[in-house]
Assembly symmetry: C2
Homo-oligomer: 116 residues x 2
Amino acid sequence: MEKNIEVSLLLDFYGELLKPGVRQTLDLYYNDDLSLAEVAEQCGITRQGVYDSIKRGETQLFAFEQKLGLWKRFRELENGLDEITRIAAEIAANSHENNTVSLARGIEALAGELKE
Amino acid sequence: MEKNIEVSLLLDFYGELLKPGVRQTLDLYYNDDLSLAEVAEQCGITRQGVYDSIKRGETQLFAFEQKLGLWKRFRELENGLDEITRIAAEIAANSHENNTVSLARGIEALAGELKE
C-alpha cells in the first residue's frame, strides 16, 4: 500500500468528520509515518483491522472532497492570495508614492494573514 | 419554529453531506420557504416527520460547522478579499503612476474572481 500525500492533507481538512478510531489509524499511518504493523500494535488491533480502517477512512475523505470540493476551493484561494501578495510587493517595490507603498504593504500584510 | 437564516447558508455549504431526504426537507423549508404542512404534502410524509427531519438536519449542519469551522473560515476570507479590493481600488484611484494603476486593477480583478 502506497502512502498518498493527498490523504494526509484531506485528513487535516476533514478528519474531524471521521470516527475517532478511523482518524487515529490514519493519523498514525500518515502523519506519524508508522507501518501497518506498528499502528496495529499501538491500537491493539490486527494488521488487517488497521488496513481496513485506513481504507475506509481514505474512502470517506475522498468522498467528502468529492461532495464538497472545499479543499480544492481553499487551495485556489491560497494560490490567489499568493498572487495578490506578489503583485502588491511589486507595487510597493516600484512605486515612488509614499501613500501607494503604504497601501500596497497593507495588502501584502492582509493577504499574508488570510493565508494562515 | 423560527426559520434561521444561518441554516440556509450552512445548507449551501454542507448540504451534500446530509441524507437526500433530510436535505430535501431543509431545502423546501428554508430555500423554497414552504410551511411544514406544505413540505409534508410535497414529500408525502407527516408534518411531525418533516419537523423531525428538519431538526435532525439542522443539528447535523451545526455539528459539521462546529467540527470543521470551514464556513466561518470562508466568510473571513471573503471579508478579507473585500478589504483587499477596497485598498487596491484606493491605490488605483489615487496613484499617478500608470504601472501602479494597472497592477492595482489586477489585484482588484483577481480578488473579485476569487470571491466568486
